[in-house]
């Protein structure tokens, strides 16, 4: 399908100033609210203006949208979980969700499982090259950029570099690779992420391909709903558009490919040593990690896809033993078997783990293999069925064992 693409900006000069890259996204949201297309917008705002404290927020008054304009890179709110958990608390049914690729993918996986109604949602996708956990980000500002975190008014990630803008208008740029080697920079899951343009949303917005004009956002239409939105917003005088040049489109694609390249390289670095272990050692590696678990259920609760109201891991289900830490290895393995086929690599599980278990690495590692076997990319397409809910003839011939639980041995030895 040859995609429809535009360079867009807000028609309203004021909005154009306040928003990032010409305020197109904010104007589109304003259009949706003012015309009753949606009852509310679910997006992220910097709580009390604090860029390190993004929280999901529901907006029904278009005037409040300006508070949410601009991207936040140093905060990692869980918007898909919010959508699943709290949207039913409000009366509005039609909602626009501003989402990164992993958020959009999680929402689509939830919609497949009938936890959200895709038709009620307008997904405004934003390109993403990763985000930074707030505590790490604040340390990084002090230790690497030599600036008080509150002095930063903007961050930008481009071509492997992080540029921050200070209150006084000055900027400073550092290479992400170097920052990340020093223990700062993006979350590990983000470094491995190779889906930067949210084509599974209704529209995918970003600055790639719009570099020539700072006031423009590059928008790719990804669905009929997205197409209607753009056309009506133009008609309604909310946004102005122009066609991107071939060069614009090529630049965008090149940048995307470069990011995918970097992510795939990172996967090799992260997964290589695990793949090098034999099956038994590999399991032992994971079980050593699992043994740190204190059964807080943080990973389960943070996972946008773990939706069961009566989770089998709950203590009253009598599936796994109660009252002890670490819990049975069945605890993480059950989550793995339930979710790994659909994991969207959002990193939320790992981020909320108090014992620093490398959960995202485990889930991505497994998902990589499953994706290949089943030709399934989670959250990419509403019509694809998750591997767990489908059958593939090749399955019979799969000899690779990712985790051979028959070799569970170290847990027992620890007990005695």
């Amino acid at each position: 399908m040859s995609a429809e693409m535009y360079l867009a900006k807000a028609s309203d000069e004021n909005m154009c100033e306040k928003g990032e890259d010409g305020g197109a996204v904010t104007s589109l949201l304003r259009y949706l609210l003012e015309n009753g297309i949606v009852g509310a917008v679910l997006t992220i705002k910097a709580r009390n203006g604090n860029r390190y404290d993004g929280v999901p927020t529901l907006i029904d008054d278009p005037e409040d949208l300006t508070d949410t304009a601009g991207s936040l890179h140093c905060t990692t709110p869980n918007i898909a979980r919010f959508a699943r958990e709290y949207l039913e608390e409000i009366s509005e049914k039609k909602i626009a969700v501003v989402c990164k690729p992993c958020d959009a993918r999680a929402i689509i996986e939830l919609a497949k499982r009938e936890q959200l109604n895709r038709d009620d949602l307008t997904l405004i996708g934003l390109n993403c090259t990763g985000s930074i956990s707030p505590v790490t980000a604040k340390k990084m500002m002090k230790d690497e950029f030599y600036v008080e975190p509150s002095e930063v008014i903007k961050e930008d990630i481009d071509e492997g570099f992080l540029t921050i803008t200070f209150k006084d208008g000055n900027t400073k740029t550092k290479e992400l690779k170097e920052l990340e080697e020093n223990g700062y920079g993006r979350r590990e899951n983000c470094r491995r992420c190779n889906i930067n343009i949210p084509r599974m949303a209704d529209i995918a917005c970003g600055k790639w391909g719009a570099e020539e004009d700072e006031d423009m956002t590059f928008i790719e239409i990804c669905s009929d709903k997205g197409s209607d939105l753009i056309n009506s917003a133009i008609e309604g005088g909310y946004i102005q558009i122009q066609k991107p040049s071939t060069q614009n489109i090529r630049t965008r694609e090149e940048k995307n490919n470069a990011e995918i390249g970097r992510a795939n390289e990172q996967r090799k670095i992260d997964f290589g040593p695990i793949e090098a272990l034999d099956i038994r050692e590999r399991l032992n590696y994971w079980v050593e990690e699992f043994n740190k678990c204190i059964k807080c259920y943080g990973c389960r609760d943070a996972c946008p896809l773990c939706y069961c109201e009566e989770c089998i891991l709950e203590p009253n289900r009598e599936f796994i033993g109660i009252g002890r830490i670490p819990p049975d290895t069945l605890f993480p393995l059950t989550r793995l078997s339930h979710i790994a086929d659909s994991c969207v690599n959002c990193g939320q599980c790992e981020e909320v783990c108090p014992m620093d278990l490398p959960l995202s690495k485990l889930f991505s590692f497994l998902n990589d293999r499953l994706s290949e076997m089943f030709d399934y990319t989670p959250g990419e397409n509403m019509d694809d069925t998750p591997p767990l809910a489908s059958f593939h003839e090749n399955e019979i011939n799969i000899e690779d064992t990712i985790l051979d639980v028959t070799s569970l041995s170290i847990e027992k030895s620890k007990e005695n």
Partner: protein, 674 residues
């Protein structure tokens, strides 16, 4: 429509941030607060289920007064009149007030002021007496202050961490997170604990599995090895301590074999641990109740501190002797002066200090002699005012506590539930808690953080400080308790305790993670590392202490052949009043249990989950057996969360003479299997 409101977890002293999800003034969920520096969006099982207890149907909503033997709902006016009728006649020394580590600083400050100004007595204590009194009496003479000398965040920069009598994985998981990070960077973790608990199994590199009650023997040997091998930090000892000769002399008189036979820890293991700690660039010792809750608690703490001093492990981030804090405000309520020996700011009770506070408060003749410590107060008073603490579960020898409480002329209990203690009260006052009121707490590392009021308290329940001010007004002392907001109280605290002078509500709200005192002025960033130049002792030096091993008050014998030790589970909190009303936590660990070694179980014919009877000289409980290698053969372990099998029916009320701490960790029991 739906808002995220940030707050601090109501459980232990780590002080983790959480977001509550609020709709129409009600809490509908909980989400990570990732910017919070203590926990970075993570939580332990209790922290993940922080708010459910608030909505429990049996929250106290109205004052209750006992009439014809039954507690009946009444008005605030009537309840307070009932109290003042009796309070007006009681002699100062026959009145006692017990505050709680769950009070805010503002609550605690007002409570101690009530005892001292209105009642004219220093009979004011709080549950810190039962957790950390040996910390104060042991660290006071040694380094001058019983606080954590490092930021809890900096524990991850240590390269050798001793965990002494602290099951950190279960009871302080956010400190365990720092230890895990330190380990990733190569740190050695040494666990000193009689139990092979989750901490020893999954966090420790070296486990010194000592016999209960032999901490001094273990620590003395470690120090002896260090001095014998010349591994001490000579420059540090020379410039910053005093008493090395006496210590050296004492340790050289000890026989290794004899010490080994006392503690049952092989000398080669002690040597390995001692060497690792002595060689560490930054070493710290995190300790808790295993060290404290013994009749030798003060000596144990002194030995811990001496070990850190001779190795120079003080004055840098991630070093020092670090007491933990089990309660949200275990630190702050002590700072506010809810201890019979201290006015606010740890000013020791004396004529001079009484006069000083008389000036601040505008009153004369404040009490200048210490009163009773917690346990004695239970027995020696006629009127007892108990705020947010539950001695019917938490004090040792509960059967006798019951008799003492039933005997009171007036027992006032102010709490959020009708606890086991409140059931015995003559007047019960319903309190607001946690996010139902505003105030500050001081957490484990002197970290002062603010809790905002987010939801309304149920029924007529009110914040503790307001209740106490109402009572003070009824007693005719309105002018001294004429606060219109909790922030006014914090301002007064800043005048009474200069380390707080730079702390106000606005600064706390602007700083996620709060401020670490001392914070003497409004421009001061707070103090992460304590004792960098000198100690808090009068001469500024660390005073090395000579301590001798002493046996426990009640050793096992033929009649009572096992040692019982008590403690906590990760899924529950103290006397269970909050965690047992939290469905997820209660289902995880719904019943009391006793840990029994497999060989004892097989010898006595006990199978896992059998109901057995545990008896001490003070009482007995029926309890479910849990067979595990966590405990050695002679040792039994019972958590103290469960009212139906209350561990403290069995425990020994014998006190550490230096601190008033009961010996919770060691008493003699027998098993009956039927």
């Amino acid at each position: 429509m739906i808002d995220y409101e940030s707050t601090i977890c109501p459980y232990c002293g780590c002080g983790c941030g959480i977001n509550l999800v609020i709709k129409d003034g009600k809490i509908i969920g909980q989400e990570p607060w990732k910017e919070h520096p203590v926990n970075e969006g993570t939580n332990c099982p209790k922290g993940r289920n922080a708010y459910q207890f608030l909505n429990s149907e049996d929250r106290l909503k109205k004052p209750l007064v006992r009439k014809d033997g039954e507690l009946k709902e009444t008005t605030w006016d009537n309840a307070l009149d009932t109290i003042t009728d009796k309070l007006k006649d009681v002699k100062p020394e026959r009145f006692g007030l017990l505050a709680s580590g769950k009070n805010t600083n503002e609550d605690a400050y007002v409570l101690q002021k009530f005892a001292r100004v209105v009642m004219g007595t220093n009979n004011i204590e709080y549950c810190g007496r039962l957790c950390h009194s040996p910390t104060a009496s042991g660290l006071g003479p040694t380094v001058g202050s019983g606080v954590m000398p490092t930021s809890e965040l900096d524990i991850e920069t240590s390269d050798c961490i001793i965990l002494a009598g602290v099951n950190i994985k279960e009871n302080f998981p956010m400190l365990a997170m720092r230890v895990i990070r330190a380990k990733k960077k190569g740190a050695t973790v040494i666990v000193i604990d009689p139990r092979k608990n989750a901490t020893a199994r999954y966090l420790g590199d070296i486990h010194l599995q000592l016999k209960s009650g032999t901490d001094v023997a273990v620590l003395n040997v470690m120090m002896k090895i260090i001095l014998d091998q010349g591994l001490e930090d000579t420059a540090f000892i020379e410039s910053r301590t005093t008493g090395i000769e006496e210590l050296r002399e004492h340790l050289s008189s000890l026989e290794m074999e004899e010490m080994e036979s006392i503690s049952k820890v092989p000398v080669d293991k002690l040597e390995e641990a001692a060497l690792r700690f002595a060689e560490a660039e930054r070493g710290c010792i995190i300790f808790n109740q295993g060290v404290n809750q013994q009749v030798t608690g003060t000596d144990n703490v002194k030995a811990v501190a001496s070990l850190a001093l001779i190795t120079g492990q003080y004055g840098k981030p991630g070093t020092g002797v670090c007491p933990t804090r089990g309660q949200i405000n275990g630190e702050g309520v002590g700072e506010m002066g809810c201890l019979t020996v201290f006015y606010p700011g740890f000013k020791r009770v004396s004529e001079e200090v009484a006069h000083e506070f008389g000036e601040i408060w505008g009153v004369k003749d404040l009490p200048s002699e210490p009163g009773y410590t917690y346990i004695k107060m239970l027995y020696e008073t006629d009127i007892l005012y108990i705020v947010g603490t539950n001695p019917m579960m938490s004090a040792p020898d509960v059967n006798n506590v019951r008799k003492a409480l039933e005997d009171k002329d007036l027992l006032i209990v102010q709490d959020i539930f009708l606890t086991e203690t409140a059931e015995l009260a003559d007047v019960v006052l319903p309190a607001a808690t946690w996010v139902e009121r505003e105030g500050v707490h001081a957490y484990v590392d002197r970290r002062v953080q603010k809790i905002n009021k987010i939801v309304d308290a149920p029924g007529d329940a009110k914040p503790d400080w307001i209740i106490t001010c109402m009572l003070a007004e009824k007693m005719g002392y309105k002018e001294y308790f004429d606060y219109t907001s909790s922030s006014e109280i914090l301002d007064e605290i800043g005048r009474a305790f200069p380390a707080y002078a730079g702390i106000d509500y606005q600064r706390l709200e602007e700083n996620p993670g709060g401020l670490l005192w001392p914070c003497p002025n409004k421009d001061h960033p707070g103090t992460e590392t304590f004792f960098t130049e000198k100690f808090n002792t009068p001469d500024g030096l660390g005073h090395l202490q000579v301590v001798h091993h002493k046996p426990p008050a009640e050793a096992p014998d033929n009649d009572y052949p096992y040692v019982l030790t008590t403690g906590r589970s990760i899924f529950h909190y103290h006397t269970g009043s909050m965690s047992r009303r939290t469905p997820r936590l209660d289902k995880e660990e719904p019943k009391a249990f006793v840990q029994i070694n497999p060989s004892v179980a097989s010898e006595r014919g006990i199978k896992d989950k059998d109901m057995i009877t545990l008896k001490s000289r003070r009482g007995s409980i029926r309890i479910k057996a849990r067979i595990t290698n966590d405990v050695q053969e002679g040792l039994l372990f019972v958590p103290f969360h469960f009212a139906e099998a209350c561990a403290n029916v069995l425990t020994n009320p014998e006190l550490d003479p230096n601190s008033g701490m009961p010996e919770y960790k060691i008493c003699a029991v027998k098993l009956e299997v039927k």
